[in-house]
Symmetry: none
Subunit: 416 residues, 2 copies
């Protein structure tokens, strides 16, 4: 099955945003066994959009379009495609209801253009948008499958995974479907992981082994051709076993979930609670944890002790530890220890996790950017401190520090 992506948006042609949607869709299509032949980016221009559709129909079995489903005048994708295939635009009532209800509940005046987001092409299957307002559509025209998705990744990605992937699978008749499995690793870099699996990666045929990294987590996607899940599992068994043998200590899940999800699972199973004290991560660690639905079961909350004043006031770290000639300073093993231990006393949690370091851009207390201390306190157990020297900019240091804290907590939880 030959596929083509058409991303619609002048902001892409002006280089204001990067086309990450194309990467996501290409990777997902590869996983489905759909062969991507072209990616095209075209502006919010009727004629050029029409030309792109004509070309795509002539060379692709599947055309996935992203962008141009919004409410504004330059959102043309649905209108142009409807005209091209000679179909009407009709109202998708469930979407219209969501839109009108939303405006009512917010007490905002709804303008006519908002209705555009609830329009769908006659005779197409609606693709529900649970994170936005613009409904997507899927239909087949002269043997070519058209899929229209909104541009914002947080709307497009879940819609593809939940609705488009199954829709496509039922239309892939002749091909033996691909069966994929994700293995998620933490506490190890992509290149190091790849190095340890190099012989397997170079020898790969079926199953294939594709490692990629995102936000301090490395994912390996194992893929094989199989008619059923159990056949797929059988095909993957030996290679997965070998990978586990080599990298098991870093493997935290065999599904695509972040490590915080597994940490919360383990806390739930042990019926234990967590509180955090964040200095250099500045709330990111709590944000990651509370992004998981149900996190309130085990996560009590925490303290963003960004200033020394709050480290002292809220968590009782003595000022002489934090500041002054010869003091360990705020970025130190001593401070990490006190923050973690005090947390347990102040919040009554079973685990206290603290992060203090230098996120940059400039050094602090004469300590280098990227130096981070993570403290682990636990009722009736000795407090541990882990020291890291991280690289990258402010954002990636915050990210890596938060993910490392979760990785080491995960190790502690699974071994205890």
């Amino acid at each position: 099955m030959k596929a083509e992506i058409i991303a619609v948006g002048t902001e892409l042609l002006l280089g204001q945003i990067v086309n990450t949607n194309a990467q996501f869709l290409s990777r997902e299509c590869a996983a489905l066994g759909v062969d991507m032949y072209f990616q095209t980016v075209v502006g919010d221009n009727e004629q050029r959009l029409l030309d792109s559709f004509k070309l795509a129909v002539s060379r692709a079995d599947v055309v996935i379009c992203t962008g141009g489903l919004g409410p504004t005048q330059d959102d043309l994708t649905k209108d142009v495609l409807a005209a091209f295939v000679g179909r009407e635009l009709i109202v998708h009532e469930p979407s219209m209801k969501i839109i009108t209800d939303m405006f009512q509940s917010r007490g905002i005046h709804m303008v006519e253009s908002n209705r555009r987001q609830a329009m769908m092409i006659e005779g197409s299957d609606p693709l529900h948008n649970e994170t936005g307002l613009a409904v997507g559509v899927a239909f087949t025209y002269e043997g070519t499958h058209f899929i229209l998705l909104p541009g914002p990744p947080k709307e497009m990605k879940p819609m593809f995974t939940k609705y488009v992937a199954p829709w496509l699978r039922t239309r892939m008749t002749d091909e033996v479907p691909l069966y994929s499995k994700m293995l998620k690793f933490a506490g190890i870099g992509e290149s190091n992981l790849e190095h340890q699996l190099l012989d397997l990666i170079q020898a790969q045929t079926d199953p294939t082994i594709a490692p990629y990294a995102k936000e301090s987590e490395v994912t390996i996607r194992l893929t094989t051709r199989a008619q059923t899940a159990s056949e797929g599992e059988r095909n993957l068994q030996s290679i997965e076993l070998e990978i586990r043998k080599r990298l098991g200590e870093h493997l935290y899940a065999d599904q695509d979930v972040p490590i915080e999800t597994i940490v919360l699972q383990l806390l739930g199973e042990k019926n234990q609670t967590l509180a955090v004290a964040e200095s250099c991560t500045g709330g990111l660690l709590s944000d990651l944890i509370t992004a998981v639905p149900g996190s309130s079961q085990s996560f009590l909350g925490g303290i963003i002790c960004y200033s020394n004043a709050l480290k002292h006031k809220l968590l009782g770290v003595p000022m002489e530890v934090l500041e002054g000639e010869g003091s360990p300073g705020a970025v130190s093993s001593e401070t990490a220890t006190l923050l973690a231990e005090q947390l347990i006393i102040v919040t009554g949690s079973d685990f206290g996790l603290s992060v203090t370091g230098v996120a940059g851009p400039s050094p602090s207390e004469g300590k280098p950017v990227g130096l981070v201390y993570i403290g682990f306190a636990q009722k009736d157990a000795a407090t541990r401190v882990i020291t890291l020297q991280l690289s990258g900019n402010r954002e990636s240091i915050k990210q890596r520090a938060a993910k490392s804290a979760l990785y080491h907590l995960w190790k502690q939880l699974k071994d205890s």
Copy 2:
């Protein structure tokens, strides 16, 4: 001058890498005043590459190709283009010398394929590669300018800036460069904003007005053709004035920065400090604030009072307010008020900002998902509470609640 980018590489079609080159080249072309009409990605396939060249010649004045200049057999770009334009591949001696010297100095045996990187298309201008081995080329064929650059950004980018930009400029006879300016808005939706500017947008010629939304902020890009920045500013003056007249209360910056940056600026100017109490946003608000370098100047930190226990223990909200028959509950104006006011007492900050609500996925205290209360306390001033009913999933409710809190704080700061 109409331009098109052709990125060559199967790794792009498999989604193994993201096409950041296209963003860089599009931005650079916009700055030069070259109009980007299409971006295409094609794999390492002779026929499809040839088809892409044919199509590009038919619709573009400038075709910029990236990738496929390497030494391996699947690097086809130069060969296919040479065949297409009916020219020979010849050796570029300076590049060949660099390659042979490199191999000699490293004492590595040079294989025949390495010579491929020093080949150029007959009658083209060589583009020196100072950070890699593959030479680029630029030439004109039947009125279309072809530019071939290597795929690795660290080679492609300096080559474009140093050699391609000037090469193109000398060939741009009549065009005037583009001058762009960003206006950033908060507290207003994209469609509502566009509705209020519809007459301007529909009447646009030069300057052009392009609105787009990302993460609860709306950006308007004003673009005009101008030889100098001051001329550009003059061209934009009247339209910008009109936009400020209509939407000034939402306009927080005339550059592409998030609202938290401006909030911190205002706090710094007033020499005042901020602390936050986060329930439903769970750390996201603090994370946004601490993502700004230097935020520690004004941001003391905060309390993630995710559980009622911590709302009570750390910020002294009475349990009878939080729980029990007939109590206002954790998600209430009363709780938002107490959290914000207690923050000032507990942390000693000038401003106390609190967020409590239902992020979902399920309702809480019998209150609907998306109901959010934001409290603003200030020394020697009455505490205000704002009630929001937000839509979306857990992630977007957290995002919108945090951004709304920043928007209302910004309003308070600029008016005080």
